[in-house]
């Protein structure tokens, strides 16, 4: 393991900024998110960021191709993707596991989403362990190790005023080589993550949910939900998108943008038929997808216990209490 003093962090980030476009977790007003690094950024280490790194790989709104439609002709012009190496410094284990979920969706099952793949290939990820959980965190219950990210290029720790770093891939090794002069070879005692208040019991939940499509639970829980998109847009694993176009006369851009399964027109068909017409179906589908359908399809939970939806849900409809109710249901 290589270490450096936390007070040195800015020098290291500047060194990295020469090779990469570096993103760091920062406090911006009341929110915290990953922002391009520069000297006057207010670095934010003690908690996970509110806005995850999802939008670095799957942006909220992203142009796909340009088109021209003159009278009867159609021209389609794919857009060149920006080719710049990106470094994400300080991604927590739960957000990293969320990226693994997105990889399953965008890179497997016969089709590869090029927009996602190019960004994913260009990115080097320095994961950062969590020493302290928030009250809304429940990553351990979802099989995520807060001190060991799954699929990081470098696993970093922050303890005793120092940062420790272990390269796990050659992308990671390249970072270590760049920062050679700042680093000292030394082993840090990695603390056990403290402060978990929520421990939803997940075993058997996916299996049990298979038979709970007609359970009363959904009719009981759904009326509370406002059917807004807050939980889906803040969730690091939610990946649903819509495709639309921005047209100016005879030219335009086809773009894709985030969509939410909680919106009414999400499955509304042209003829008016809607397989999920009311709140009950939509709320059921959201939790079934995260805890039952996705595991069935990709054998991986679509919830990494980051707790963001517990923070932003306007009516405190928490996935942890849904899991509890599923366990209790007979």
């Amino acid at each position: 393991m290589f270490t450096f003093q936390e007070s040195e962090i800015k020098n290291l980030l500047n060194a990295l900024a020469k090779e990469y476009k570096v993103f760091v977790p920062a406090k911006v007003g009341d929110e915290s998110k990953f922002v391009p690094y520069d000297d006057n950024v207010e670095l934010y280490w003690d908690r996970n960021v509110l806005l995850s790194v999802k939008d670095k790989f799957f942006p909220h709104t992203e142009p796909m191709y340009k088109f021209k439609t003159k009278r009867k002709t159609v021209e389609i012009e794919p857009l060149a993707s920006k080719d710049e190496p990106v470094l994400l410094f300080g991604v927590r284990s739960c957000d990293l596991q969320a990226l693994n979920c997105l990889d399953q969706v965008f890179l497997t099952k016969g089709f590869v989403d090029e927009f996602y793949r190019t960004k994913r290939d260009q990115a080097t990820i320095v994961a950062l362990g969590c020493n302290e959980a928030e009250d809304t965190c429940f990553c351990t219950a979802m099989g995520v190790d807060p001190q060991k990210g799954n699929g990081a290029d470098i696993q970093a720790y922050r303890t005793q005023g120092k940062f420790g770093m272990e390269a796990l891939t050659e992308k990671g090794q390249k970072i270590i080589d760049i920062l050679k002069s700042y680093l000292k070879e030394e082993n840090l005692q990695v603390p056990e993550t403290q402060g978990f208040q929520l421990q939803p019991d997940m075993d058997g939940v996916a299996e049990k949910l298979k038979g709970m499509f007609d359970a009363e639970l959904w009719a009981e829980v759904a009326p509370t939900c406002l059917n807004c998109g807050a939980c889906t847009y803040i969730c690091p694993t939610c990946h649903c998108f819509d495709i639309s176009q921005d047209v100016r006369g005879e030219e335009g851009f086809k773009y894709r943008c985030w969509d939410s399964c909680m919106f009414e027109e999400y499955t509304l068909m042209a003829g008016g038929h809607n397989p999920r017409p009311s709140k009950k179906e939509r709320v059921r589908n959201r939790f079934m997808h995260k805890l039952c359908y996705f595991p069935e399809r990709y054998n991986m939970l679509l919830c990494t216990g980051c707790g963001r939806c517990l923070n932003v849900c306007p009516v405190n409809l928490h996935i942890t209490s849904i899991i509890g109710k599923v366990k209790e249901a007979n």
Binding site: I76, F106, K109, G110, E114, K254, A270, F294
Partner: protein, 282 residues
């Protein structure tokens, strides 16, 4: 070349979400609100070679994009029968031959051809529902000896609403060992054929196929299924093709799911047996 789940090798280098340019070479007016569009690439070839039951994403870039079943294919074109029901389809109904469009595909699993080989097949269609079923019928006609007795039971609201009239009245009746039964909902002047709904007509005809293909409006499916089951058809022998709101067509955008299955990728063709252990949400 990546092995694509549609069992069809296609060049993955292109981005699956970006359509290729194509043009409409012929438009057949089937009914007042259904037209069949013949589509070829700009250099007069098939945009892709779909299996029966597979889908294609057709777009007028400035209006929108939607998924349609490929109802038949020729040497250098594919055919899509489209009902005017939304913004894109109404605009499509106003375009003329020569209009350029965007097209991408093929998508979906398509009909299980090996399963149908050598079997007597009953095709049940309602209104525009005949479009996806027709892709399998035309395949059977092109490989007639591979398939047993073919029976078509097709219904529509009125005579004018019958799709593919040329096939129904001229071509298909002439095919050996193939019977075509057509019905319309209400009595109509100048119509001497059967009058009545498809489910009742199927019960009256009491065909004895080894496999059934069923596609039509939900109301028709709802009333036909119990009759088929009453006549002893096994769920695994009743095959249907479903319709869902689709945006990406490649199993990513999340909306066309029934349980853990995506209709655009794992469907649209499902047997009743497969549908039985999926949530009834389609």
């Amino acid at each position: 070349m990546s092995s694509c789940s549609c069992g069809h090798e296609h060049d993955q280098a292109i981005n699956p979400l970006i359509p290729t340019r194509a043009k409409v070479i012929k438009i057949v007016e089937e009914t007042p609100d259904v037209k069949t569009f013949f589509i070829s690439t700009l250099d007069d070839k098939k945009p892709f070679d779909p299996n029966p039951g597979q889908l294609g994403m057709l777009s007028l870039p400035d209006i929108g994009e939607a998924m349609f079943s490929v109802t038949d294919k020729g040497e250098n074109h594919i055919e899509m029968a489209i009902k005017a029901i939304g913004k894109l389809t109404y605009t499509l109904h106003e375009i003329e031959v020569g209009q350029e469009v965007g097209i991408r595909g093929p998508y979906g699993n398509g009909f299980p051809l090996d399963y149908f080989k050598g079997k007597d097949i009953l095709f049940i269609g309602g209104g525009i529902g005949l479009a996806p079923v027709r892709s399998l019928i035309m395949h059977c006609l092109r490989n007639r000896e591979d398939y047993g007795k073919l029976t078509v039971v097709y219904g529509a609201r009125s005579k004018a609403d019958l799709c593919f009239k040329d096939d129904l009245f001229n071509n298909w009746p002439k095919v050996p060992n193939m019977e075509v039964f057509i019905t319309i909902d209400k009595e109509e002047e100048g119509w001497d054929g059967h009058v009545g709904f498809v489910p009742a007509y199927v019960e009256e005809l009491a065909p004895k196929p080894q496999a059934t293909v069923l596609c039509g409006p939900p109301i028709m499916i709802k009333f036909t299924l119990p009759i088929l089951q009453k006549m002893g058809f096994a769920d695994k022998d009743i095959i249907t093709t479903l319709e869902m709101r689709m945006k990406c067509g490649i199993g990513k955008c999340g909306r066309c799911n029934i349980g853990s299955k995506y209709v655009c990728l794992d469907g649209p063709v499902f047997s009743m047996e497969e549908l039985k252990d999926l949530p009834p949400e389609y």
